[in-house]
């Protein structure tokens, strides 16, 4: 009987749908694998255009003779791991202590703006806040500190990468919180928490013991993504990280851009090392998970009900605020700089305000915003089509995506960008693809696809299939079920997934720069180019627009379902 059902389901799957998963995998992994191949060749000394033919280990010799390697590697690892662990801890504490409460709902609302602030803009904001000549020091000077000149303190770009870790945490907390909230829908935390509390457990202890293990299983891959991203990020590291030496990824980009063309092979070798480091750290993290699980089990079995709950909740709220407030102040500082006249230390505000920066950069910036949306829009529509197709194929064939499949899905996010994008650039040129919009869209698709899948997969799968059973019993075809029942009911997650996709596309720097050959400029490429010049006023304009470009779709995702389903409360809450 069951066998018959499965066969019937499989026969239901149209040919197009059956090919979609393969096509999706190709769109995501083809470029990554080809790009990696394009990295492996120079890493073993094969760059024909520079007169180098391999294979040889010279690039690795050059890499290992670089004096800064030890520190750069250590920095990549510590910043990545510490930032991820801190972010996860903060998210767990906030959710444990406050989910379902009014402050938590407020945080949920603040999430979209926080998420949409691009990494580079957040990093700038933070730098201006905490620098010795920054806003905090200005607010306290000279009245409290007695400084009439900024003190010579190494706060930003410190050798331990603390400022960089802080910058990463600011951005990863909202991301992980979003993923956690999405995962909680399935974990049914309220019931577990009620039971735990009825048994006398404190709120945080009860949540950590009963809900967190289930939630963590679902946010595991996002956590891995955060690790890989934090270990190989470039823009945040350039702004907040140390430079003597910098992190490994920053150094890779420098080598890749060295006028001495043979340095590219050293860069390629370093890119492979970076890839190995990420794999290594992920393996260690995996063992760490086992260890924490074992310790956690013992803790759960100990039956401690948890004390100090009120203090812990207070700390959680404080940490949450500490993660959110700097981003908001950072945005405010971008806004003030964009209209600032001359502004020196220790003035809290500029001497004068003017719209000159906006009249100078506004027209170009808005035109660039149009191009940014064009690239993001096309990429997201493609991504959404593929993802919905895959999910529908999965549902209709009754074959859940295997563990291997899920890992493949995450591969583009786990491979450091610096490891495969330069190779991908050569590949595109080899097949004669013209530089410009189209290749950039496909390069963005590599990153947009997994994120769209990531944010849509769980809500899609956790949809109650009894709705479909009822509809089909009433005579609706699977196509009709998809379009008139499932898609409308999942409008909010679909829109949220699109917003995430747009935000990811807006934030792409290396992919746009390398694959577009410079002919496609987005707000991010412009902002990072300006960043090297340190003109805070222009950075203010571009940073604000960059934030706006990512924020608008989130606003739509929030507002549209409420408007469309205003008389169907159950569909948007």
């Amino acid at each position: 009987m069951i066998g018959l059902c499965v066969t019937a389901l499989v026969n239901n799957v149209p040919t197009v749908l059956r090919f979609l998963p393969a096509l999706t995998l190709f769109a995501m992994l083809g470029p990554v694998l080809a790009g990696l191949w394009g990295t492996v060749l120079p890493a073993f000394g094969h760059i024909p255009a520079a007169g180098l033919t391999g294979p040889s280990f010279d690039p690795f010799h050059a890499l290992f003779s670089w004096g800064g390697l030890g520190k750069a590697v250590r920095l990549s690892i510590t910043t990545g791991v510490v930032a991820t662990a801190l972010s996860l801890m903060i998210v767990a504490l906030i959710t444990a202590g406050w989910s379902g409460t009014r402050p938590f709902r407020f945080m949920e609302r603040a999430l979209s703006p926080l998420l949409s602030v691009p990494h580079a803009a957040a990093a700038f904001g933070l730098a201006f806040l905490i620098a010795p000549s920054g806003w905090i020091a200005r607010a306290l000077s000279p009245a409290i500190t007695g400084w009439d000149r900024p003190p010579d303190l190494l706060i930003v770009q410190d050798p331990l990468g603390l400022a960089m870790i802080a910058g990463l945490v600011l951005k990863e907390v909202p991301f992980l919180l979003l993923m956690t909230i999405a995962a909680m829908g399935q974990a049914q935390p309220r019931r577990s928490l009620l039971v735990a509390q009825a048994l006398g457990y404190g709120r945080i202890t009860g949540w950590l013991k009963t809900v967190f293990p289930r939630v963590y299983r679902q946010i595991r891959l996002p956590v891995y993504v955060v690790i890989a991203y934090s270990m190989s990020v470039v823009d945040v590291a350039v702004i907040l990280g140390p430079s003597t030496p910098p992190t490994l990824s920053v150094q890779i980009v420098k080598w890749m851009g060295d006028p001495d063309l043979s340095m590219r092979s050293t860069g390629a070798a370093a890119a492979l090392l970076q890839l190995g480091l990420v794999v290594l750290v992920l393996v260690f993290w995996w063992f760490g998970e086992r260890l924490v699980a074992a310790l956690g089990n013992r803790w759960i079995q100990s039956g401690h009900r948890g004390s100090h709950d009120r203090i812990s909740r207070g700390i959680a709220l404080g940490l949450g605020a500490l993660a959110a407030v700097p981003v908001l102040f950072g945005l405010a500082s971008l806004a003030v700089w964009s209209v600032a006249g001359f502004w020196s230390f220790p003035d809290v505000l500029p001497d004068s305000f003017s719209m000159r920066t906006w009249t100078r950069h506004g027209p170009d910036a808005f035109a660039t915003m149009g191009e940014t949306f064009l690239v993001a829009g096309i990429a997201v529509v493609f991504a959404l089509g593929l993802v919905l197709g895959c999910l529908e194929a999965e549902y209709r064939s009754g074959r859940q995506m295997g563990r291997f499949g899920v890992w493949l899905l995450y591969l583009p996010l786990l491979v450091p960008q610096t490891a495969f994008l330069p190779g991908l650039q050569s590949l595109l040129l080899n097949v004669g693809a013209d530089v410009g919009l189209v290749p950039v869209v496909f390069a963005h698709l590599v990153f947009v696809l997994p994120y769209v899948f990531l944010s849509l997969g769980d809500p899609w799968r956790s949809w109650d299939v009894r709705n479909a059973t009822v509809a089909q019993a009433l005579g609706a075809s699977p196509v009709r079920v998809f379009w008139t029942i499932r898609l409308p009911m999942l409008l909010r997650p679909v829109l949220t997934a699109m917003a995430v996709g747009v935000a990811v596309s807006v934030g792409q720097y290396l992919a746009t720069l390398l694959i577009g050959g410079g002919r496609v400029s987005t707000l991010t490429t412009e902002a990072v180019a300006l960043a090297s010049g340190g003109d805070r006023r222009a950075i203010g304009v571009y940073g604000l627009l960059q934030t706006l470009a990512a924020l608008l779709p989130f606003t739509f995702a929030l507002v549209l379902p409420t408007i469309i389903w205003r008389n169907r409360r159950g569909l948007h809450e």
């Binding site: 930003v156 350039v238 890749m256 050569s426 040129l429 080899n430 180019a529 010049g533």
Partner: protein
Amino acid sequence: MKNFAMIAALAAAPFAAFATPDPADWDAVVAEAEGQTVYWNAWGGSTTTNDFIAWVGDRVFEEYGVTLEHVKLTDTADAVTRVLAEKEAGENDDGAIDMIWINGANFAAMKEADLLFGPFAEQLPNWAIVDSEGKTVQTDFTVPVEGYESPWAMAQVVFMYDTADIAAPLGSMSAILEWAQAHPGRFTYPQPPDFLGSTFLKQALVDLLEDPSVLQAPVSDETYDEVTAPLWAYLDELTPVLWREGRAYPATGPAQLQLIADGEVDLAISFSPGEATAAIANDQLPDTVRTFVLDKGTIGNASFVAVPYNSGSAAGAMVVANFMLSAESQVRQHDPEILGYGTVLNMDALGAEDRAAFDALDLGVATLSPADLGAVQDEPHPSWMTRVTDDWVMRYGSGQ
């Protein structure tokens, strides 16, 4: 005899450089250029430069129907890498880059790897008014240009200092060290291998050497240690009294402006005599900032534009390069309110009206007059910059 001539011509062909389109036939170039789009890859970190490039774009579109797109780079080497990648992939006819703002090591690398279109520069109509005798436009960091790049701006090292904190100009690198020791944490320079950071190292080396002429020849292993010893001794003394004790550096030249405006440092190097005036006008620097040069003079060089060998719009690029040598464009770039870059033109070759336009420019409060700028020291051979920068990176930078 006829056969001999033909054989000679055939034999010569691979060695003679032919540029197509041929810049000598200027009317044909202008005709071909109309309707072309020129992608100019130029560093995008300076907003005043970006504005100037946009203006050039407007003007060449009006005049010649050439569309100019500014591709903003964080590092010129990205463009070199791009052309190399294209050559690797066999994209020989219509690469992504039509023009590059270039000089020094990037030019040397591209010329050596045959990645450039040309020669064309000396056939441009406006070459006639370029001061090819008096200004270093035929060599680029001692590498012969040979028409493979067209000059457009002169640069010379000056030091910007805040008169609110430093009473009088500092006349030598040693004087700068003494001042820094008396005022720890108030001086820094961009981190090499940033272009301006490397320039600071060269400037220090040139000023510290009794006889800097050894730097005109390529580096030799025998003399390198001896020649550069004074520089490392100098830096060993300077680094502990730098801003952040040399544990962090500003990423680029313009980033120093922000440090001065924030009151973090009082002294900074610049490669553009007019930069301080322009920055004061843009509220980026306090109006108490002035500039000085060293008593023995400072390093100067020219900025060029080059065309990659695989540009599909070489005609359009040459039209842009030629326009940038026009008196109209040169007066505008020289204007401190706009850009403040030095001109490459020969004042004596200009008509009375154009000459008057230059004379009428008010160079601004913080810009030294050509007379005050004093002697220009030659750029060392690029191999010095590369070697000294690499060494700096190992001793004080990312390789330590």
